[in-house]
Symmetry: C2
Subunit: 497 residues, 2 copies
């Protein structure tokens, strides 16, 4: 065997072992979230921990790292292997300079802090969580220092963890545009509005019928049941292993039927992406969706741009009406469309509508950025949060549970994650605008499925899996991020009503 083939064989055997642990972790986690009995949770967590330890041992194994470095020296190395090696090297470089004892300490801290955050939120007591958040911020600042290079420094380092190559400069420019254009518009349109929901929105809807309607939605988005599963869990999510096994969950509420519909469409966006990745990438390290932003751009396009459009519901609303005659028999399509597209200033991010959502993200982004630069300290974060909510959304925050404590992310050490939600939504609008040039979307949706849309997205985004950097894929598909598309879409949609 030639030297390069020897190295490739060695690399493959490491990758195969990581994929084995990854596959086991995938099934064990899915099982834990969807059906494992309560009594088994301790054992399960232990084994999940052992699996990730085994994976970590390979990632940090000097022989594995040497193999990767040696392979990267060959200019003849095939593109996919090269990209996989590069990603592995980047992953290793991220942690190699963090002292092991500090890293371990931080993992222990995170285990506790998520638990404490839950307590603090339930008892509406920020003081309980504050010392943990302080330690997390302190670690993250030190982590930045350890990881600073000529190319990357500050908050950029954390942004890059969740979205490769995303920078503070890009985010600042993006949110500046939103602040200047969206905040005054929302202020204007919400001034004279009443916030009462139509009765049919909060009426009771039979759970089994809701489940059945999810099947209709799945069919409309061309979900392949031979390579996927739908199930239920407390919080909806999508997970997958190769394009042959893509699973998602929905949570059904009797008195909030819209929740299941839109979380189903959202997760179907993630799932469609994963199901359409090229089969040749199965069982490689590039077999999954490439990043948070790209994933959110897909889920939000299906959930919001398509899933809240009149074109889509022209076909599906009559079916929904037939299924829930008592509740929807006298509700017209236009009334339904209006109800699923209201704009309202509210306190909770995950319940926010499409238009106000990015302002919630902007608040979190600015706070994170300032925490990392040292401009803001945890002692002042509650006041800073409340002020920004007042400035951007014009409402007073009545409690920390409805304010700074509402999200789980920071307690899990995830600083740098939030921006991906808003930037993903923005890319959804930008991609959709590009797609509209190539295909007649309303005519396509009138056929009752997203076949043509899926095809376009597969060609431009999905098929690549993780074989390129996310910004490359997005750039090739729709150019550099331009928040104008997003704001134009949001405002245009509202004006049309």
């Amino acid at each position: 065997m030639s030297k390069i083939n020897e190295l490739k064989a060695k690399y493959k055997s490491y990758v195969d072992e990581m994929l084995l642990y990854g596959h086991c972790g995938y099934v064990l986690s899915w099982d834990m979230e969807t059906e494992a009995p309560n009594g088994s949770v301790n054992d399960r967590s232990k084994y999940l921990g052992e699996l990730s330890k085994k994976g970590f041992q390979i990632v940090m194994n000097p022989d594995y790292i040497n193999t990767i470095n040696s392979l990267l020296e060959y200019s003849t190395l095939d593109k996919i292997t090269r990209h996989g090696c590069e990603l592995a090297k980047i992953g290793y470089d991220k942690i190699k300079n963090i002292p092991e004892n500090e890293y371990v300490e931080f993992q222990v801290l995170l285990g506790q802090s998520q638990h404490i955050w839950g307590q603090a939120k339930r008892s509406n007591n920020f003081e309980l969580f504050k010392p943990y958040l302080k330690k997390i911020v302190e670690f993250k600042r030190k982590e930045i220092a350890y990881r600073t290079t000529a190319d990357k420094k500050g908050y950029d380092i954390l942004l890059d963890d969740f979205e490769p190559n995303l920078t503070q400069k890009t985010c600042d420019k993006f949110f500046d545009y939103l602040r200047a254009n969206l905040v005054p518009y929302i202020n204007k349109i919400t001034k004279s509005k009443t916030n009462e929901k139509p009765a049919f929105v909060t009426a009771k809807y039979n759970l089994d019928k809701q489940r059945k309607f999810s099947r209709t939605l799945m069919k409309s988005l061309c979900f392949d049941n031979e390579r996927g599963v739908i199930k239920e869990s407390e919080h909806p999510f999508t997970s997958n292993f190769n394009n042959t096994d893509v699973r998602f969950t929905v949570h059904y509420y009797e008195k909030d039927f819209l929740s299941a519909i839109f979380s189903c469409l959202h997760e179907l966006g993630h799932a469609t992406y994963e199901q359409q990745i090229d089969s040749s990438l199965n069982n490689t390290v590039c077999s999954g969706g490439v990043s948070m932003v790209v994933h959110e751009s897909q889920s939000r396009m299906y959930e919001n741009i398509i899933g809240r459009s009149k074109e889509y519901w022209q076909v599906y609303y009559p079916k929904l009406q037939r299924m829930f005659k008592a509740n929807l028999g006298n509700v017209s399509l236009d009334e339904f469309i209006a109800a699923i597209n209201t704009v309202e200033k509210t306190l909770i991010r995950i319940e926010a509508d499409e238009m106000t959502y990015p302002l919630h993200i902007m608040v979190r982004y600015e706070l994170e950025r300032d925490l990392m630069s040292g401009k803001l300290e945890v002692d002042n974060i509650e006041q800073a949060w409340n002020k920004k909510i007042k400035d951007y959304l014009g409402i007073d925050v009545p409690s920390v549970a409805l304010g700074v404590l509402q999200d789980v992310h920071w307690s899990g050490g995830m600083i740098g994650y939030f921006p991906t939600y808003a930037i993903g939504s923005a890319y959804a609008a930008q991609l959709f605008a590009m797609m509209s040039k190539d295909i007649d979307i309303p005519a396509s949706l009138a056929k009752g499925n997203t076949k043509q849309i899926n095809k376009w997205l597969k060609e431009k985004i999905h098929r690549f899996g993780s074989t390129k950097y996310p910004n490359e894929i997005l750039h090739d598909a729709c150019g550099d991020l331009d928040p104008k598309y997003y704001v134009d879409y949001l405002i245009g949609k509202h004006k049309d009503k």
Copy 2:
């Protein structure tokens, strides 16, 4: 650390790793059987194969074996560790003398032969499967030769694989008694019978209501939902990891509601056993049920002795009737009890009633025994099968699909397995007779649950897990196997009707 503690720590780290692979295999298999999409089956099989390879590598690791042998030299070794080491040594000794290439060849053969068996059964063509069965028998004969010791030889070696310490001598004595006492009795009582089933047995029963009734059965047997799951699969089974995670499946048929009821009770027998094993054994190699015979003794006691008794249904039949008024409204408890306790000579083992069931096993036992001794060859097995079915059940076998090809076991190399079904049933009767001396079973069942019965079985059988040999546990609970209990129970029950 003392030498023994060093060895114990080393042993524990091997065991922990095996338990990790075991736990992953448990969840992956469960998922594959109950919900994984069809498209994922190839990947899944591959990863299951890799997990068992990893487990096997430890079992055959010389350092592991040395550790075990060294530990066994310490007289101060605690009982549970000693027993675990002994079992490991026995497991290793079983394969150490089989040449590796032959062992691997055999595994490949089994992979093919199960597939071919399916084809042969579907096309009713024994010739297709015959060459594979010949090779399997040939390997098993050679395996016996390789594994023969001063203590163990012949068919005993294979019996021991499925039921430690079970011997041909025990089986011969057992089946001789059945042949002498059960065959003539069944002949007598089935002479004048018509085989028509009452209409309510084959009527249509709503599947969702059947599912709901399974919940009632689970409650009646005190199944702990906090440490277990019920689900559906093609063939019902129970699987488990520790007493904290015990799962079973049922298959529902619209036109055979009794199938789901009795398979649910059967699997609940297995599940109750696993849920009642002592918690201190969790995460050791002794945490599961000890053997096939002991497991079947539990599942068949709950399914047949309790589950087909008037005492049990006195409480539950009114509930069943209420749920299926149209079908059962005019069927009395006595008619229902008669219908679930009919005796009928039939061709298919898995559909056989409680009384004729052991005769089906006897046929297979005698054929296996004679194949292994060389008294019978595969070329004559079809004729031998048909003759025995005629001799014991008095019926002609119309096709190989309904005859010698009906069971999957031999195609999977499982020679020595069948007797455990019948001996398990016999122990069920013997244990039940002992239990009747200690507790008032009818009074206990009148309370609507098996709490007292579970308690007795936990004390005598369940709690030990695999910390003793199965014959020890059974001996301590009810003495040596005496088929008279079994035959007396079967005949007595029938006479009572």
